[in-house]
């Protein structure tokens, strides 16, 4: 890896304007979820709480980044007939590593994410970036592109998670060491408890915890984004 970087450095700046664009573009103009519509599945399943969303976002960013890097490094050696399978094996390999790492470092969150870790493999962002970018670009740039898309994806994931957790559960970062609790009214319960801390007048909205709520939130996010960024509006 170090070798590759060194070679790149001679030819062009390591982190010039083009490289910066690779990282920031996916945050808005080319966001994987709201513009490219890739990788929505896990966005819905894990975002009912912020903490798993953050873990998922980091995992996906690492997988997109490194799979882009590896694919790009191998791109001239990969036979075209088995291109898809080779890419998938690279991704599956990285995801298996992520799974082992989670089991090693944070078992409870591994339990919580369960099958959705495996589903990172079919997260279309990963394959989409490999096909669209990494197969035709140099390793360092592909790595940045992968990271950028992972971060753009993660940003949406965490935003959806924040909205769902605050309005659905009245907590933030529940399950992590820095859990915040500011709404105590547990409406899911038949008999409301009175141990409200702040905002006791607000009954936690159970709809927000349901996976369908993520659809609404992303829909509304797209609405807001396109109101500002009119070039994205669907004309058809």
């Amino acid at each position: 890896m170090a070798e590759v970087k060194a070679v790149e450095k001679v030819k062009e700046p390591l982190f010039g304007r083009a490289e910066k664009k690779l990282l920031t573009d996916p945050l808005n103009d080319n966001n994987p979820i709201t513009v490219q519509v890739l990788g929505v599945c896990s966005a819905l399943a894990v975002t009912s709480l912020v903490y798993p969303s953050v873990v998922m976002a980091i995992a996906v960013t690492l997988v997109t980044g490194f799979s882009s890097l590896f694919t790009s490094m191998l791109r001239t050696y990969i036979p075209s007939q088995v291109r898809m399978i080779v890419q998938l094996v690279i991704v599956a390999f990285l995801v298996t590593l992520v799974e082992m790492a989670l089991k090693y470092f944070n078992y409870p969150i591994y339990k919580q994410l369960s099958v959705y870790i495996g589903l990172i493999i079919t997260n279309c962002i990963v394959m989409g970036r490999l096909e669209a970018f990494a197969m035709a670009n140099k390793p360092w740039r592909s790595f940045l592109d992968g990271l950028g898309n992972g971060i753009g994806y993660g940003a949406i994931l965490v935003m959806v998670g924040v909205v769902r957790e605050i309005f659905g559960k009245g907590t933030l970062f529940a399950g992590s060491p820095i859990e915040l609790k500011f709404i105590g009214n547990t409406s899911a319960y038949m008999i409301n408890t009175t141990d409200s801390v702040l905002f006791g007048w607000y009954a936690n909205n159970n709809l927000m915890v349901l996976p369908a709520a993520a659809m609404f939130i992303i829909g509304i996010m797209i609405w807001i984004q396109r109101s500002y960024n009119t070039k994205l509006v669907d004309v058809s």
Partner: protein, 254 residues
């Protein structure tokens, strides 16, 4: 070599498979023992969560707040693991924490073994039973702690594989639900009645707890799981109740 020749493709795939398999096997060798240890801590923490109110670690400290080492320490020093069969006899050679409830659930009643954790806190003994059943989507399981009278519930903890977040998943996510089990009783006049999760709110405050609105099937699953699960322990529990009655009689006579 020609990049599109069959030989090249085969060679490439073969090399890739070997490299990937080797690296993964290596990483797994390095991480497996820690992963298994983590799993054991995870399960022990769930057992201790059933006696959240009696951890003796200060006000409001639950099993979730304990450090990993503390969980292991409590388990080593204050928990006695007993393995039972469904006839209420103690089975030797199987450690209670190693029992896989999911596998036991599939066996015939007569062949099952049951874990029983005897937890000591400030001289009082608690009996923690493990139960497993079905919720709406998938399996649910839990641990029930009984006080030393083997009748009053001291606490409970539940978990699930795939209940709906916000509805059925509240059995785990909402601490009020397991909390409501504290103080309920499972025997009425010496007869086993278990505890019922009642839709629309508990009516009989001794034997019923409030249901969760919108999660009737999961709640019924909990009711059935408790009834069937504790039933398996009955031979042992009844015997232990007899013994403790005898003891108290003896003490009275002195």
């Amino acid at each position: 070599m020609d990049k599109n020749s069959t030989n090249y493709v085969l060679l490439f795939v073969l090399m890739m498979t070997v490299v990937v398999a080797l690296v993964l096997t290596g990483v797994r060798q390095g991480t497996e023992s820690k992963a298994l240890e983590n799993e054991a801590i995870f399960n022990k923490r769930a057992v201790l969560a059933a006696v959240n109110d009696y951890l003796g670690m200060g006000e409001g400290v639950t099993a979730n707040d304990l450090a990993d080492e503390k969980v292991l320490e409590i388990f080593d020093s204050r928990v006695k693991q007993i393995t039972l069969n469904t006839a209420g006899e103690v089975v030797e050679g199987v450690l209670a924490e190693k029992i896989d409830m999911a596998k036991e659930k599939k066996k015939d009643m007569a062949d099952r073994v049951l874990p029983l954790f005897q937890y000591e806190n400030e001289g009082e003994t608690f009996y923690i039973l493990s139960v497993r059943g079905n919720g709406l989507w998938d399996e649910i399981w839990g641990n029930i702690a009984l006080e030393s009278d083997i009748n009053t519930i001291a606490g409970a903890s539940f978990d699930h594989k795939g209940e709906t977040p916000g509805l059925g998943a509240e059995i785990k996510d909402n601490p009020t639900f397991p909390g409501n089990f504290s103080g309920k009783k499972i025997f009425r006049d010496g007869e086993f009645v278990s505890v019922v999760v009642r839709k629309g709110g508990a009516q009989d405050t001794t034997y019923e707890v409030d249901g969760i609105s919108g999660a009737t099937v999961t709640a019924d699953g909990v009711t059935k799981m408790l009834h069937d699960g504790i039933s398996l322990y009955l031979p042992y529990l009844n015997q232990a109740r007899q013994n403790s009655k005898m003891e108290s009689l003896l003490i009275d006579q002195h």
